[in-house]
């Protein structure tokens, strides 16, 4: 038939269905220009199998909700083009590693954020009276630059999923939480440097890191938790030797 359009190019995706146990189920999805992995997952849920579960919110790499394991590598899916990962026309999508699976592609991120708290990943005001001005912090100062280097974390959990130490030691605070503590340690306005260092030096803290650098290799924001953790190792050792921990 001459009027027939050529068949749309297709992609075979295998998607994890189930919880901790389950299986990869293949789906055929139409290839589209500029399609992201999140678009593929959405396509399956919206047009093929309405029961597929996954999570997203902002769809532009700001909220860190949409991370999944794509062909064995943790990625933010809303900013990962299919072209980049579908070398052989096949894509396998699973939930993030190192977090309990709720269903299909959605994981429970509670342990990740609990550890953020256990690491004292929160600002503590230093000067209770000085609340009506902005502290003077030259942007070029060493501390500010160090704080800025790690501040744009979106809490996506990619680093946490990539890190084997997290897999081996379920108490390990993990790269994102430690990266946050390092930012605070460098924040000249923060009033709890000692507490931050003490938390980072705890028995599941920075010293458990073997510098695998998976965190920095896969962080979609290009942050470097490895360097942050190395910084914590140095500073905590200094405090330890001074008897301040």
């Amino acid at each position: 038939m001459s009027g027939r359009e050529p068949p749309e190019p297709e992609l075979v995706v295998e998607i994890w269905r189930g919880r901790e146990s389950g299986e990869f189920v293949p789906y055929r999805v139409a290839r589209r220009e500029n399609q992201t992995v999140l678009d593929v997952v959405s396509h399956v849920q919206r047009r093929i199998d309405p029961t597929l579960s996954y999570r997203f919110a902002c769809r532009v790499g700001m909220c860190g909700s949409c991370a999944m394991t794509v062909n064995g590598i943790p990625r933010w899916t809303c900013r990962t083009r299919v072209d980049r990962v579908a070398g052989n026309g096949r894509v396998r999508i699973g939930p993030l590693r190192n977090m309990p699976v709720i269903r299909d592609l959605a994981v429970d991120m509670a342990p990740f954020f609990d550890k953020w708290q256990r690491a004292t990943g929160r600002f503590v005001p230093s000067d209770a009276d000085n609340r009506r001005t902005f502290a003077r912090v030259p942007p070029g100062s060493r501390e500010r630059q160090a704080a800025d280097a790690g501040i744009e974390c979106i809490g996506c959990g990619v680093c946490y999923a990539a890190c084997d130490v997290v897999a081996w030691n379920s108490d390990y605070l993990g790269p994102a939480a430690l990266n946050r503590v390092w930012t605070l340690v460098n924040d000249s306005r923060d009033g709890a440097r000692r507490e931050h260092l003490a938390a980072a030096a705890g028995d599941a803290g920075c010293h458990q890191c073997h510098s695998h650098q998976a965190c920095m290799s896969y962080c979609p924001k290009g942050l470097n938790p490895t360097a942050a953790i190395a910084g914590l190792k140095r500073e905590t050792v200094k405090s330890l030797l001074r008897g301040e921990l």
Binding site: W168, N169, G202, G205, V237, L245
Partner: protein, 111 residues
């Protein structure tokens, strides 16, 4: 030692690594140098006997390894096997003692 066991272990492990680094370089160099033409017990002994320098070098080597290796093995076991906790720590200490005992005997024998 406060409750910060892991932090102290880290210090000890990295500290011993700092000590080991030059010693291993020396050890590697002598080894590569010494094996030219083959080894014999006599040769080894002639090189080491009554040398205070060699004695302290190997003594230090043994001490550093006795600190360094058990800590390393402990973390490997902790991470890759289900074995954790006190009993593992004791085992690591025993391993440390083993290295010290064998090391003292060996260094003593060489001198």
């Amino acid at each position: 030692m406060t409750g910060r066991l892991e932090a102290w272990l880290y210090v000890a492990q990295r500290g011993s690594a700092f000590v080991l680094a030059p010693l291993v370089v020396v050890h590697l160099a002598t080894m590569i140098y010494a094996i030219r033409g083959g080894l014999s017990a006599e040769e080894i002994l002639s090189r080491t006997e009554d040398s205070a320098v060699w004695g302290s070098v190997y003594g230090l080597f043994v001490a550093a390894v006795a600190v360094h290796a058990p800590i390393g093995v402990r973390s490997i076991v902790r991470e890759m096997t289900p074995w954790k906790g006190r009993s593992l720590d004791v085992a690591a200490l025993l391993f440390c003692a083993l290295i010290v005992v064998l090391g003292v005997r060996a260094v003593g024998a060489l001198l």
